[in-house]
């Protein structure tokens, strides 16, 4: 909802109280962008970004390192498995299950980060 800062807003105590009771203190902190809510959100964003960057690095090293490896150690590229040269097996076949595995790990871990966050926000008040 967009309101001008100077617009008059009607506040009814009963409504505010009902909202608070339903959603819990931390949840309200988030929605109202208080210091606590903001810190919580920054923590979540940082955690998710760190996870994404870490897994991107796994791919960058695992796959992205291959051209360099082949350039530095040409002997590796000449290894043959079942008559097929290693670079063909790595790039033509193995790369795809590797990407899917990294993707699966990400979905799993990112959802766990979100569950942790939700648990903190919805923690019953004492």
């Amino acid at each position: 909802m967009v309101t001008r800062p100077d617009a008059r807003v009607r506040i009814v105590l009963a409504e505010v109280a009902r909202q608070r009771a339903g959603r819990g203190r931390t949840s309200a902190d988030l929605a109202e962008q208080t210091g606590i809510g903001d810190a919580l959100l920054r923590g979540l964003v940082r955690a998710q970004l760190a996870l994404a960057v870490r897994l991107a690095l796994v791919v960058a090293i695992g796959l992205g390192g291959l051209p360099l490896l082949f350039a530095v150690a040409p002997a590796v590229a000449e290894v043959k498995i079942q008559g097929v040269a290693l670079p063909w097996l790595l790039l033509g076949v193995a790369a795809y299950p590797f990407l899917v595995a990294v993707g699966w790990a990400y979905v799993h871990l990112a959802e766990r980060n979100e569950q942790d966050f939700t648990a903190v926000v919805q923690r019953p008040e004492r």
Binding site: S27, G64, L66, P67, P87, L91
Partner: protein, 542 residues
Amino acid sequence: MNPYLIPAIVAVTLATLAIGAYGLRLARTTSDFLVASRMVSPTWNAAAIGGEYLSAASFLGVAGLILKHGVDVLWYPVGFAAGYLALLLFVAAPLRRSGAFTLPDFCEVRLRSRKLRRLSTAFVVFIGWLYLVPQMQGAGLTLHTVAGAPYYLGALLVGVVVTANVALGGMRSVTFVQAFQYWLKLTALAVPAIFLVLQWQAAQRPAVTPAVFHSDTAVVVEQRATLSLADGSTMVVRPGERLEFPAGTPVPRVSTVEYEDGLEWLLPGDSSGDRGLFAAYSLILATFLGTMGLPHVLVRFYTNPDGAAARRTTLVVLGLVGTFYLLPTMYGVLGRIYTPQLLMTGDTDAVVLLLPSAALGEGTLGQLLGALVAAGAFAAFLSSSSGLLTSVAGVLSTDVLGRGSVRDFRVSALLGGAVPIVLALNVSGLDVSHVVGLAFAVAASSFCPLLVLGIWWRGLTDIGAAAGILVGGGAAVGAVLVTVLGPALTGWTGTLVQQPAAWTVPLAFAVMVTVSLATRNRVPVTVGRTMLRLHAPDALRL
């Protein structure tokens, strides 16, 4: 000529049009799209995304490149698939939660700037057109290869069919058509591949390199060129000349066709040394980061009900696309044995189409499989270009021509379709995959930094984003225009211009961050609320 071919192509085209017309009655407005979204499961949605994504470049181009250049170009399919991983890691869930339907929408949601919205519209249209051209090129090539029709006929046919279909409202929101196209494309490559591999096994696994004619072959010369024969002699050939090669002859080198052979084809790295390594990394970067910036990929994410579903869908797409890319490699490799004449004519993009009848003979089996592959190729052109044109026409009608009425959309579709048709008729000489690679480079140097920084960094400002897009994306656009229209470049200049991503992507990121820091006072006041919307788990519903 193959008697099953024309019926197969006509059937695919009619099926697409018919389901499109049926969808017209089902889905009239954007809100229908939203309603439909609640009923589409991640698996269907993922198949639809895959169906739209696997274009002429994937279906024809990758195998053609592998036939010519060998192991070094395996990076194309790996990068095309890995692009979905980057999308999953950095963009998928927050983008869905933002509620943005197109990239210009995202600019407005995140940075509250109409001007930036218009700038990104221009880039969406440019990338869309650049990506549409090779689809029509591929169609022209396919009809020329399998039916002997002139090149312009196929390009015109697909261009006109798709434009008319999109203008009349077909293909919008038709998830099931796109999902059907994915399975059709997969089947069209997988079934012939089984027969091809069995045939290769039965023939005692002939060696794939060096390139040798394995059966008596006749090649008709199409343009003046110099042949270098295996014994070291050379000969000049003229158009119309017919050359006969008995089985066992090494394939001569033609001056107009560049390809690799022997160990160079089999092993990574090439004669250009550092430049080859640079080009490889540039290509990896473009495909890895470019996928998230393609206009037709992004729109599909809106059909996911929430952020978590968007993530799961992307993971399934990664699996589906990865499965598909196992196949073109096989065609490229077996093409060395059964269609080596393509290394002389240079029409390597045709390898997928010619391989079934070349390997299995002109009997019923070879002809049926050949028709299946051609049908799959047409499915690829139709689905990708429909998706692209819908996105281009969508942004043109809402942001350039009018306010997004149905009439505006139709005019935009006609305009959006006409430009790539004209371009496709004039650039027949370029490799399909190379042009697509350039579209990825532009997307990676403009929208990738915008999305990644917009989602993860509060400090991004509208001026910073605009500067980054103009400098990085502009540099990539310049490189594309020089490659497509300008003179042929060689050496380091050529490599830097033909594979620009390795310098334009870091440039775009650097400019975006620097200018945003310099204009820190323009950070939108609502940034905290926007970040909450992008990142808060769906279960909280704040």
